[in-house]
Symmetry: C2
Subunit: 409 residues, 2 copies
């Protein structure tokens, strides 16, 4: 008789954000009078509406789809040239990074790409991740059977190399030992969940390490729009040698509010080749051609609008608005005596929970006593224990209200 | 050093439609004066614009995204209730099939689902496919390492069970031998590429076989809207016992013209459990939650409009238009002396190529001499050799023109 994928069965519990949603729902059912008071700073979902330039592009593209002469059927496998060229120019060439448009793969979002990218690597590839970490990097490798056995005590997988990021090391992961023989290193800067950033010099050390040890860096730059410090790189391709060792994943979710509109892209340079010279770019193209049918035409036109003069101006204003929230939360909680990291050049704040509480206990306490929702750090890995992630993606009112309520505790 | 997924390296050549696109492009470059004359009946891409009710729904949803109070961020993992409930009611309950809305998983399209569904099954699951077959079923299993060795002479994989569909058996696959021990059976009716259909009684035999032998049927019903014969089932869940052995995949691409808008769904009933009682529905939910972030809100609203009274009326008219093309092609080519199958209750026509030619030779001949593009049957598997697939998705003019040109040869 048929059987389930046994690697799937190894996954412990539910996906983090599903668990949070379930707890919020249960709380609301027990306390229907307070359900409306809940302020959500948990999941990193944006709240500002789409910018006028993007709305105009969507309406225009919908009108094109309404007439036979301008209708668009299947998109090119890898994305429309108009979008890929805008990306190559604005996100890379303008920063001195050499990326051709045919190294850019448009997708339905960074989460899908983060989860799928492991597929083009060998089954025995050893992965290295930061701890705490965005769960998708690890879970997608669990599903692929790469992570060994799960320890319910430590919350760690036997075959994964963890790079702890704690207050002690300034939330900066250290290079893995050479004898760890890692093949795939997942890095995310500005970091989710800690809000930590990386300097160009620090990132160059990672690129050099990867090239020296034959590893690939999967660089998740979904939050690059939140960087204002000119010393910080927006792309890993600003580093020398990254074309032979790095894949970069980008999102339109946080810079332009596309969480519900869905658009992202991945860069796989032609120079990225395995020990036998196999082009990883061509394998990723093959995956796209076989398992994906392109992002919607109207959404790709919306993505193009993000790169217009008006689109840049409007989306920069949105980013500034959210960073205003980050400042309010950071300063307000510091005043209340909390230790807060992140929230500068990053939309995430990493709050040290009060002594003697676990991060899930503090999550429940905030929910029950002041109806504020964060994300428990432990959900991102064992080194996240003792922290709570707050996001700056709510409204100004919700940031002010959350701070006021937490200060009142 | 890192290595590529060796299963990917086993894939022979390029994805079929990429190869066709490359040949058309090369022909156009050699014959720039004739490039504009090309009539494309190759890839199954629709040409009619989106219907007015769908366009109105898209504009309305875009306007919602433009205001903070009606903005939509991340969608529920499995799709919005408004769409899942419309699907459960119209596509299943109305046909007497019991499918709950939480067994419906909204996605970015049937191709992704067809390719991804294998992931929730064990690595050693043996698959059975029709020959000829939509390449995605096989290629996605090749990438997962399930198909054994490829024979360049026969074009077959050592560990795949093939069910030939030829003129001799009326393009109806036969049940696999019990000792073939298949776990996953891919069926597609109305069929791509042959245009063959299945009666409810025939399909019931497949359901009974699957339940008896502990197999799962992946039922691709992307073309069900083209059925007009009341004897033919639109869903496998019209058969008794299908809830314990079948997964059904649906598309909005062909019934409503969403090839460039992207929307589909998969049904995994709660009663589908493996030998250990594992719920395949829950595994698929876990995959959605980990590797996917929902279809765009505006596209899900467009999908809902397909089920409105106006939407049904308009999309039925589009289907009727395409079936008018099918009749023109079928009758016109029969008049010219060709043997033509399909094109009744199905948008695909399966044309026997002239004696002594291979299907790729006939493809090249049609392209070079009359600038008509079909899809070579051999691209769908060895039993497709000797046939060319034509689609009814072009304009009326292109159907008439293609027939006229082929008749003139």
């Amino acid at each position: 008789m048929f059987r389930a994928n046994e690697s799937y069965l190894k996954l412990p519990g539910d996906y983090l954000f599903s668990e949070i949603a379930a707890r919020i729902q249960a709380y609301g059912q027990r306390n229907p009078d307070k359900a409306e008071r809940i302020v959500r700073l948990g999941i990193g979902d944006v709240t500002l509406p789409l910018a006028p330039s993007i709305v105009a592009a969507l309406h225009g593209a919908v009108d094109e789809m309404a007439a036979a002469e301008s209708f668009h059927g299947y998109a090119p496998d890898l994305g429309y040239d108009f979008l890929r060229e805008a990306i190559a120019e604005a996100d890379f060439a303008a920063r001195g990074a050499r990326i051709d448009s045919d190294e850019v793969f448009v997708s339905d979002g960074a989460k899908s790409d983060c989860a799928n990218i492991q597929e083009i690597f060998s089954a025995d590839a050893r992965i290295a991740v930061c701890d705490p970490v965005y769960p998708v990097y690890v879970d997608s490798n669990v599903m692929a059977g790469r992570t060994g056995a799960y320890c319910t005590v430590t919350g760690l997988w036997s075959d994964v190399v963890y790079m702890p990021c704690t207050a002690d090391n300034g939330f900066a992961p250290e290079l893995p030992d050479a004898d760890a023989r890692v093949s795939l290193i997942y890095l995310c800067f500005p970091n989710n969940p800690t809000g930590a950033t990386v300097t160009k010099r620090q990132l160059q050390a990672w690129v050099d390490y990867a090239n020296e040890h034959g590893a690939v860096i999967v660089y998740d730059a979904a939050y690059e729009a939140y960087i204002s410090d000119p010393e910080l790189p927006h792309s890993i391709y600003e580093c020398d040698g990254a074309r032979t060792c790095a894949i970069e994943i980008r999102s339109f979710s946080k810079n332009a509010g596309f969480t519900g509109t869905r658009l992202g892209y991945t860069v796989v340079p032609r120079d990225l080749r395995d020990a036998d010279g196999v082009s990883m770019r061509d394998l990723w193209a093959r995956r796209h051609g076989t398992k994906f049918n392109g992002a919607p035409y109207i959404v790709q036109r919306a993505g193009q609008a993000v790169y217009s003069d008006q689109g840049r101006r409007e989306t920069c204003e949105q980013v500034a608005y959210y960073m205003g929230n980050a400042r309010i939360i950071r300063e307000g909680l510091a005043q209340a005596g909390y230790e807060v990291f992140g929230g500068v050049n990053a939309p995430y704040l990493w709050l040290a929970v009060p002594d003697g509480m676990t991060s899930w206990q503090f999550f429940d306490t905030l929910l029950e006593s002041v109806q504020v929702v964060g994300t428990p750090g432990a959900g991102f890995g064992p080194s996240g224990e003792g922290y709570l992630r707050l996001t700056a993606f709510g409204s100004r009112d919700s940031a002010l209200e959350a701070v006021k309520r937490i200060q009142s505790m």
